[in-house]
């Protein structure tokens, strides 16, 4: 603390090349002790690559890294940790089948002199960040925010001087986010620096002291956060100005299209709602409230205890996703890498996979028609890919998401279900997804949208349902309701 003007980390002229791309181009940043340092940028701007170099996952090609006054040539993740640099990834690095205490001191039980010491020290660390999680709970039983607390405690156990948080809020509810804010402030007060990477600019403004904006592997600007406005920041991130984050709301709600009656599963209780033609219906709730369960049950992906679904007035049975697809439904799932994409496959295969049956005659897939579909959707959605044969894993998050949307657009679905459609994708791609949603409803389709970003729901939907504990607890007109009113019902 006596050297507050000193820098904990100085990065000078770092370059990193991947085959055919310059991922980082002479990147320099300096992080003072005891600040929260925001790094923003679109997907593919180089934030993650930089963090991976710092934590020793990648080797840098050029440049110098000075951590805590020491020039670092090579590092491995464990060495970085021991020096006092830890990173908390979006996907947590925890062992679900072990206890909280064991996770915090994983592999270092001898340092804590056995399990008793482990749990004692773990409790001290958790107390120090104001968390009351029992150290003997299994990590698998924790909520996302509690897991994050465990990760932070683990970082502190290494006596970290710099903690990198990569999209820490993506799995947190707004309540949990407030707690995270308090902890970040505590860390700063202790003299620990935090690098905070997020797509959510509100958080950057709330927590960070200094912000670096990156684009295409370069540092565009570094400024104290007070000197930046939201629109400045967006303009610098995308390299152009975006007047509005959301397009004007579509108003084309028509006849009832889908009626769901008495939907029950082991997590859902008496779900009843109606979806109209041309409507965007937003589902709001905390993570685990049952939002995803509702749409999965509707889509035939999960077992249902009994329910009635009327599509255009006629009763339909949807036991599997196959039938859902045939009934004109489409699902863009929450976790695009795990449930949406076939990562090692081409962009084209990922787009055409839901339409293959229509291209098949006597079992043979018509590959020229398939190529047409691929081209059509790549063009229609402006998917940035070198060729249709490019593997989808190499695309940015936004373009990957467009591949899944394109997969379903090809089938002209009557009901499009979007689960967190803009999670982890950049501002420009978000806007394009919004425009596409409006186009779908203008053409008579209907959309069910789940989103944890309340502004998105408020600005895009025609109607909002609040979900809490597997029940629908409120219905709102987003043009009149406030975010507070809706969250009040969602929290229950």
């Amino acid at each position: 603390m006596e050297k507050t003007t000193d820098y904990i980390l100085e990065v000078k002229d770092i370059c990193k090349y991947f085959p055919g791309v310059k991922a980082l181009d002479h990147v320099s940043i300096s992080i003072p002790r005891g600040v929260v340092y925001g790094i923003v940028g679109e997907n593919g701007a180089g934030k993650s690559t930089l963090m991976k170099i710092l934590s020793g996952v990648y080797e840098k090609d050029e440049g110098t890294v000075i951590f805590n006054g020491e020039t670092i040539e090579h590092t491995t993740p464990i060495q970085a940790l021991r020096r006092g640099l830890s990173i908390i990834y979006q996907e947590f690095n925890l062992v679900n089948t072990m206890t909280v205490g064991e996770n915090i001191f994983l592999g270092r039980f001898s340092e804590t002199h056995g399990m008793k010491g482990t749990h004692k020290k773990a409790k001290e660390l958790l107390d120090s960040i104001g968390s009351s999680i029992s150290t003997t709970t299994l990590v698998g039983d924790l909520s996302a925010s509690e897991m994050q607390m465990v990760e932070i405690a683990k970082a502190l156990s290494f006596d970290s001087k710099l903690i990198i948080m990569d999209e820490p809020s993506s799995s947190l509810t707004s309540e949990e986010l407030k707690k995270l804010g308090i902890i970040i402030n505590q860390l700063r007060d202790k003299g620990v620096s935090v690098i905070y990477i997020s797509h959510k600019l509100d958080e950057i403004f709330e927590y960070c002291n200094i912000v670096t904006i990156m684009r295409d592997g370069c540092v565009i600007d570094t400024k104290p956060v007070e000197e930046l406005t939201r629109s400045d920041m967006i303009a610098k991130m995308v390299g152009r100005t975006i007047e509005n984050e959301y397009p004007p709301r579509a108003h084309c709600v028509g006849e009832p299209l889908l009626e769901v009656r008495n939907l029950n599963t082991h997590k859902l209780h008496n779900i009843n709602f109606t979806l109209h033609k041309g409507e965007i219906l937003g589902l709001v709730g905390l993570v685990g409230a049952g939002r995803t369960e509702i749409i999965r049950a509707l889509y035939g992906a999960d077992k249902v205890k009994g329910h009635q679904v009327l599509l255009e007035g006629k009763e339909v049975k949807i036991p599997t996703p196959k039938q859902a697809k045939q009934a004109g439904m489409a699902l863009v799932p929450e976790d695009r890498k795990r449930e949406g994409l076939i990562l090692p496959f081409s962009v084209e295969s990922n787009i055409t996979m839901a339409s293959l049956e229509d291209l098949t005659h006597m079992g043979i897939v018509d590959s020229s028609k398939e190529a047409d579909i691929g081209k059509r959707q790549i063009e229609a959605l402006a998917i940035k890919t070198p060729t249709p044969e490019t593997k989808v894993v190499t695309l940015s998050g936004g373009n990957q998401q467009k591949c899944i949307v394109g997969r379903w657009m090809e089938r002209n679905p009557k009901i499009l279900i979007l689960d967190e459609p803009t999670r982890g994708i950049d501002v420009g791609a978000k806007f394009e997804i919004y425009l596409l949603m409006n186009k779908i409803v203008e053409e008579g389709g209907a959309i069910i949208m789940i989103s944890s970003e309340l502004p998105e729901v408020l600005n895009m939907s025609n109607r909002v349902l609040a979900i809490c504990d597997g029940r629908i607890t409120g219905e709102f007109n987003p043009e009149e309701a406030t975010a507070e009113e809706i969250m009040d019902k969602a929290i229950g």
Partner: protein
């Protein structure tokens, strides 16, 4: 992302590693032991190519589908003894068809057991198919009373089996001709049909394929039924060549088939692969065995080499993704 700055020779080597391996192997062995390229050895190699290619072909589909099948040991053994046993009651054509159908059924049954158990991880699949293999082998033991069955003892004509087992067209054995036809059909099946595509998509990401409207359970049963059918063909090729069948004829075919598939370049992670590449794997493994025989390597050493090749193949496969 586009690729630049790559050395074209290195790139060619990377893409065709197995082919290059085969060429190097041939050159090295030919220099060390000139008899290697003689007609009698060549005949020998071609004849050895009988059963393994079929087994590797079937296994390719299961592995592309993201799973594995250890039960082919049992399938090959059981189909072999039943086929010989059926020659007298059904005649040779009937026995042949019954054998193939039995293989298809046993494979399908594997799939049914797996989907019913809800087995979705590699480890579960590994052990369940291992268990199925024990059941099939045990059934074969019960059927034969652990005796060796000889097809030559049949009272009816066995001309199809003798043709398959010992007739050549030029220097090409008939069984290889049959195999090439099956290979082409299966290659087209993989590349052109929606079912082949479904298997590959399942291997790529079964959750995503399920949500996109594919029936994963049916696809899984299909992949295993294909493997069962191919194992039956392997079994018939084997019994035609050796003219006998026992309850343990199929031993070691599962590891060798998996070896060929992986060495050929089909990833054990599922999704990506090619039946044609598997055939390169078969050629490499068969040649390797032959070369080691020619160079008088001990059988123990040969086993060491096989293991090393498998490890290297998986290592290379994982390196590719970096």
């Amino acid at each position: 992302m586009t690729k630049t700055k790559t050395n074209p020779y290195l790139e060619f080597l990377k893409q065709n590693l197995v082919l290059c391996g085969i060429v190097v192997l041939i050159i090295v062995t030919a220099i060390a032991e000139p008899k290697f390229l003689g007609t009698s050895n060549l005949n020998n190699v071609l004849r050895q190519l009988g059963p393994l290619p079929f087994a590797a072909l079937g296994m390719t589909f299961v592995i592309i589908g993201g799973f594995i099948d250890l039960s082919i040991v049992g399938i090959i053994s059981l189909v072999g003894v039943i086929t010989i046993g059926l020659v007298d009651p059904l005649g040779q054509v009937g026995a042949l068809l019954a054998g193939i159908l039995l293989g298809a059924f046993l494979g399908w049954l594997n799939g049914l057991v797996l989907t019913t158990c809800g087995a979705m991880t590699q480890a579960e699949v590994l052990f369940i198919t291992y268990g199925m293999s024990s059941i099939y082998t045990a059934l074969a033991l019960i059927y034969t009373g652990s005796e060796t069955l000889r097809i030559s003892r049949s009272e009816k004509s066995i001309s199809i089996f003798t043709t398959l087992g010992s007739t050549n067209i030029g220097i090409i054995p008939v069984v290889l001709v049959v195999f090439v036809i099956v290979l082409i059909l299966m290659h087209l099946f993989h590349r052109k049909t929606i079912w082949g595509r479904a298997i590959a998509l399942m291997g790529g990401n079964k959750d995503a394929a399920y949500l996109a409207g594919f029936n994963m359970k049916r696809t899984m049963r299909l992949a295993y039924a294909i493997n069962g059918t191919m194992s039956a063909l392997a079994s018939i090729a084997l019994l035609s060549r050796v003219t006998t069948a026992t309850a343990t004829s199929g031993a070691n075919y599962e590891t060798n088939a998996i070896l060929c598939v992986v060495v050929g370049g089909t990833t054990l992670k599922g999704g990506k692969g090619s039946v044609l590449r598997t055939m390169l794997g078969v050629v490499l493994i068969t040649l390797l065995g032959n070369c080691m025989n020619m160079l008088n390597l001990s059988t123990y050493m040969q086993t060491v080499m096989r293991g090393a090749v498998l490890v290297i193949a998986i290592w290379l496969d994982n390196r590719k993704e970096l």
